[in-house]
Subunit: 205 residues, 2 copies
DNA sequence: CTGGTGTGGTACTGACCGGTAACATATATG
DNA sequence: CATATATGTTACCGGTCAGTACCACACCAG
């Protein structure tokens, strides 16, 4: 049953065609944009052909949805790792999240959040990728809210939304003003926001 | 003998074809995305044809650049109006800017910042629209920095970048989580940030 | 009237798109 | 060996894309 890795010949056959297609599509979609990449180019870059691609995915739109679903799953793993790194310390998890996000934004070659970019490229409300995007973003926000609440800050929802918007802004800003722009100070800004929400400080408004 | 299927002919002929093309392209580009709209559709919706479009614009890319240039010019006018509404009062200009931006983000039918969206759709570095986008975003940030500095806050550049990222995030977030999401509290967040940068308050970090 | 200019209309090119049909191959298992 | 399944190969479909050639018309200036 297993795909018989490295049967004999090409080094490309070390993984299943489906995996290669998804991995290649992820790279191309993120780098050049979803609409800018054709299925033929994906199949060829993945060392296979269009027919095999369409045997695994009903349409390009479904491949796009799978591409985004994988990224959402990766983000989920990242959250779990964060919880494991700082068990029972939501404040440390929050700061660890901030640092990881800044590193991610500043990573050279990054072109913003793939989910958010997809939302820009696919405004059609009934695109199969839309629900993935909306669910992912809602989930990210929920996790932030939970973390802020567990940290015992004042107005946890407001702080979570502030951090959420800050991150979204950093992602999109890095695409126009570069990683040296406002996005480079994400951690410092986030720390200031967290500090401003300490219960000891004055209650805003 | 024109088919006269056009709703109101007199309205279309009162402006030049070039103006109609740019206006129609702006609407379509923003609503459906740049790559999703063909030049034929633009020309037809503008009540003209592809040939006339290409007599005014060397290519679709040039039309895109003009589309973004107009939006940048509009934003410039908005800044001027803000300065005229609150002459000599940078703090009031800053708060007026915040309110205007929240209203703009929450405006139903908005789909984020057209310039930022274009940056997502056109990752190619030598696209004629890229320089328009980068210049525009740099200009917005500079204006914010100047306003913050004139307001006498502590660390004006940091506050400006915080507000800048907050706005960018609100734009992109409204596309995935809707106008009722985190973006709906833009003014409140911004005011809190401004308050936190008051010289009377403790110096951050 | 004449000529230039801007515009509309139609048809076209060549390329690419997403998606499919039909057939050949390979292998693994029964 | 026989069969089933997954994959590779080629050619093709209808449609759309950006961009162009060519001609007709309307108008306005001289």
């Amino acid at each position: 049953m297993k795909p018989q890795a490295t049967s004999n010949t090409e080094e490309k056959t070390k993984s299943s065609p489906r995996e290669r297609i998804v991995a290649t599509a992820s790279e191309l979609f993120y780098r050049h944009g979803i609409r800018a990449v054709g299925v033929e180019a994906i199949a060829e870059a993945a060392g296979t052909n269009k027919m095999t691609l369409y045997r695994h995915f009903a349409s390009k739109d479904e491949l796009v949805a799978e591409y985004l679903r994988r990224l959402a799953a990766e983000a989920g793993l990242s959250w779990e790792g964060l919880a494991r790194a700082h068990p029972g310390d939501p404040r440390a998890q929050l700061r660890g999240w901030l640092a990881a996000m800044q590193a991610h934004v500043l990573d050279t070659g990054q072109r913003g959040c793939a989910l958010a970019n997809a939302a820009v490229e696919l405004p059609d409300k009934d695109h199969p990728a839309r629900c993935v995007i909306e669910q992912f973003k809602g989930d990210q926000r929920s996790r932030l809210v939970a973390l802020c609440a567990a940290s015992g800050v004042s107005e946890p929802e407001l702080l979570a939304d502030e951090l959420f918007l800050l991150l979204e802004g950093a992602h999109v800003s890095a695409q126009s003003l570069g990683p040296q722009g406002p996005a480079s100070r994400l951690v410092r800004m986030g720390e200031a926001l967290i500090a401003a929400h300490q219960p000891s400080s004055l209650a805003p408004r």
